[in-house]
């Protein structure tokens, strides 16, 4: 089924998120949609998926104009969307999720669905245990499940929003193979991403969006500089590289084991010095998440010793860690990092530590300052949920207290475009230059290699590699991540 968009508009108040987008996607093709954050990709895809109402324009399926206003109607017409964060039911099993949204009588037997799930999974070499709770799956596995579910619903046009974020490279390979197979079978795939590499590897054709408009379209083979120019106006420079420095001992762990995550953390010993930028590599949930939370005082170690700037932290809670200059920024910005409903000014007012009264003038001044310094497109009254993902991250960075000693960051550039990634690292590196040690987890090995002084690799809850960034490369790290270090 081919899909055509003609002159699609979407306005949110004064913001023109989609400004006259016209686009044709051929049946049986993989069509890439590129663009930086805020370019209008997500809005356009949500319109196609029936999740957001368009303000103007027409959608054609196989040349016939269609109107729909709900995801379920879109699915009935054969359009399905795989969201960045899978919209599944965590407490239900894989099979129950797979059956969700199916029409059928009460008698619809589980056995039939179990068979169908198995056949579909085999066809794409996915390994999904139908009886496991979805809660226990990785993001990549949940994505596989959602993909199969949409296919079983008879979806002909499949929209994927940033599907390679947060999944392993093996899962990515499986996904790409599956998408190619689908395109060969005359399904139509829309692949939304800001990762050039993925798009170039996979897509037949690419449409680039910029500021709500189509800024260019290109067929395979792609010319990367042109694509970058369409995305950003001017191609961004690669992130600056931090030099090797070595200050005083900031954080030390001795045989620390801690519960948490899928694997926990086992027998971790490490010394981190002031000014060091340390990248934590590993498949999602291999222990680096627990490591960061232990270092922040959020997870209590079961055994082992931990010292923070010379002080023994045994039995201390997060507040004691924070008082010694530890700052932890979670990956789930809106769920864990920011307070929806509170304005930027209020977020800053909460940092005031003295007195009973809030000094609103000061808070507002600070808000203006941070908005300017961190280039947040919002105002002091903006609430985090009204900001885009990139701006939420900027706000979170803006909330880092003055002069942090240890910065712990969970996937700090997740979902950001290249320009924002570069900018975020500029800020972070300037912290490091002031003597802050930075530990961050990241799904992108390239990025880790580019910005780190030192790389730690986690596998199955253990730290299996500790190496200077200039002494290693992608292959080397990749092997360690896969447990072959």
């Amino acid at each position: 089924m081919g899909i055509t968009l003609r002159d699609i508009h979407k306005r949110y108040g004064t913001v023109h998120a989609n400004n006259g987008i016209t686009l044709h996607v051929t049946e049986g093709s993989i069509h890439g949609i590129l663009g930086e954050n805020g370019a209008g990709k997500s809005t356009l895809m949500k319109i196609m998926a029936g999740y957001v109402r368009k303000t103007g324009g027409t959608i054609f399926l196989d040349g016939k104009p269609v109107e729909y206003a709900q995801p379920a109607e879109a699915t009935r017409l054969g359009i399905g969307m795989l969201y960045q964060d899978p919209l599944d039911f965590l407490s239900l099993s894989v099979l129950e999720n797979f059956m969700m949204g199916r029409r059928g009588g009460l008698s619809s037997g589980k056995a039939g669905y179990r068979e169908q799930l198995k056949d579909l999974a085999d066809a794409f070499s996915f390994h999904l245990d139908p009886d496991r709770a979805v809660r226990e799956l990785t993001v990549g596995e949940r994505q596989q499940l959602e993909l199969l579910r949409l296919l079983a619903l008879g979806v002909e046009v499949l929209i994927l929003d940033e599907p390679t974020t947060g999944i392993t490279s093996l899962q990515r390979r499986l996904l790409f193979e599956a998408l190619k197979k689908l395109a060969d079978g005359q399904k139509t795939v829309l692949f939304v991403s800001h990762k050039l590499e993925d798009v170039e590897m996979l897509c037949h054709k690419v449409t680039v969006l910029r500021a709500g408009r189509v800024s260019g379209e290109m067929d395979r083979p792609f010319h990367t500089p042109t694509l970058l120019q369409w995305m950003f106006g001017v191609p961004p420079a690669p992130p600056p590289c931090a030099g090797g420095r070595r200050g005083k001992l900031a954080l030390a762990m001795e045989h620390v084991s801690a519960p948490g995550g899928r694997t926990g953390l086992r027998h971790c010993s490490i010394e981190i010095h002031e000014g060091e930028v340390v990248g934590l590599a590993g498949l999602a949930g291999s222990g680096q998440d627990v490591f960061l939370r232990v270092a922040a005082g959020l997870n209590k170690p079961r055994e082992g010793k931990m010292h923070l700037i010379g002080e023994n932290m045994a039995g201390k809670d997060y507040h004691a860690f924070k008082a010694r200059g530890v700052t932890f920024l979670p990956a789930a910005r809106l769920e864990e990092g920011l307070m929806p409903g509170l304005s930027i000014t209020e977020h800053l007012a909460l940092r005031q530590e003295r007195g009973i009264r809030i000094l609103w003038n000061e808070a507002q001044k600070a808000a203006f300052q941070i908005i300017r310094r961190f280039r947040i497109s919002g105002n002091p009254l903006s609430t985090p949920e009204s900001l885009s993902g990139g701006n939420q991250q900027r706000l979170l960075l803006g909330l880092i207290p003055e002069d942090p000693r240890v910065l712990l960051l969970e996937d700090p550039t997740r979902g950001l475009d290249l320009e924002s990634v570069r900018w975020v690292w500029q800020q972070l590196v300037s912290f490091a230059a002031g003597g802050t040690c930075i530990l961050f987890s990241c799904a992108e090995l390239d990025e880790i290699l580019q910005v780190s002084d030192r790389v730690l690799v986690f596998y199955n809850g253990m730290m299996v590699k500790d190496v200077r960034a200039c002494d290693t490369d992608l292959m080397d790290l990749g092997q360690a991540i896969a447990g072959k270090g």
Partner: protein, 351 residues
């Protein structure tokens, strides 16, 4: 500046919302009156004249407004931190019991002013304690505050009945009409001719203003809001959610306890089984209708008591049951929740 415009349109939205709420409630009530075969216009007239027709009536309304507003004030604290303090009813009762305890102790000796002051202090602490227990159950035992609070309500009611029929029973035999009346010098003084207590009124206004200040201007108020919005993020930003939950519950219970004390010292002059007059539960409706803001609560509380007092006329004048006031209150709150829910949904659909 762009964000000033945003403010204006939200004001317009608020007006539209209020209109929709009032319109819906009015329509539902009119419909029910038609079905009941009563003339709607005269019903509304009697509601109005029955509550605000004479100074005596106004005084009666204000006497109900005092405990209801105190409870509503308290509930804003607990709602602000994201807790459903259903236990407010029990906190009123606990405050009333504590105040009665103080008055009984002081009845023999103390000067009335001191004893009354201590009674209010005792009521405040009693209500606070009752709420803090529910808070402890939540943070230490993981008991949802709704269930904990509901349980504590039954306990408070049980203790009241036991006291009235047991240790504090009237000379001779205990009765549902409550304990013995206190000596009149231990009653809150009233304005001559009207049964209205200026002290109670002043106290309520002070609590209102104080709460508005705490919630809007202090770091504590903002901390409650932040934790209510996202406890995890608030914790990461350095706030202490568990401690704040106890503080919010303590303040909520304290306000409710003052309401209970007023019921004892200013209205019934004794402890009776139904000492709370259900003002705790009614205050939940008031605060929901106020969209959890303290600024709107006093006016809504006043309106609600007007309905309650005015409805007393209905059986005499129109052979209507006085529960009509409850219907109007319920319809208002449901309409309000509908409008707020709809508005929220529209907002999330847009982003």
């Amino acid at each position: 500046m762009q964000w000033v415009r945003g403010k204006k349109s939200s004001l317009l939205q608020a007006l539209l919302g209020t209109g929709a709420i009032l319109g819906t409630a009015f329509a539902v009530t009119t419909l029910i009156l038609f079905v009941a075969g009563a003339p709607p216009l005269s019903a509304f007239y009697y509601l109005l004249s029955g509550s605000l027709g004479t100074w005596l009536k106004v005084a009666q309304v204000l006497t109900g407004w005092i405990p209801l507003t105190l409870c509503a004030c308290g509930l804003v604290y607990s709602f602000r931190i994201g807790l459903w303090n259903i236990g407010v009813e029990g906190q009123v009762v606990a405050g009333a019991v504590a105040a009665t305890f103080v008055l009984r102790l002081g009845a023999e000796s103390g000067s009335p002013v001191v004893v009354l002051f201590l009674a209010f202090l005792g009521g405040l602490l009693g209500g606070s304690l009752w709420a803090v227990i529910a808070g402890f159950l939540k943070i230490k035992g993981g008991v949802n505050e709704i269930f904990g609070g509901l349980g504590m309500n039954f306990v408070a009611q049980g203790i009241t009945l036991w006291l009235i029929f047991g240790p504090w029973k009237r000379p001779g035999v205990g009765s549902m009409s409550g304990t013995e009346l206190f000596a009149p010098q231990f009653w809150l003084p009233t304005v001559a001719g009207l049964r209205l207590s200026p002290v109670g009124l002043a106290l309520t206004v002070a609590v209102l203003l104080g709460s508005a200040w705490v919630l809007g201007r202090t770091r504590l108020g903002l901390a409650l809001k932040g934790i209510g919005s996202n406890p995890k993020a608030a914790y990461l930003q350095g706030l202490k959610p568990n401690r704040s939950i106890l503080i919010a519950m303590g303040l909520a219970g304290g306000c409710a306890g003052l309401a209970g004390t007023f019921q004892v010292t200013g209205v019934y002059h004794r402890l009776i089984p139904a000492i709370s007059s259900n003002y705790g539960y009614l205050a939940l409706l008031v605060v929901m209708l106020a969209n959890y803001r303290i600024s709107a609560a006093p006016a809504i509380a006043f309106f609600f008591v007007c309905l309650n007092v005015g409805a007393i006329q209905l059986p005499m004048m129109l052979q209507l049951d006085s529960s009509l006031s409850g219907i109007i209150q319920g319809a208002l709150v449901l309409a309000a929740l509908l409008v707020y829910g709809w508005r929220k949904r529209k907002l999330t659909m847009e982003t």
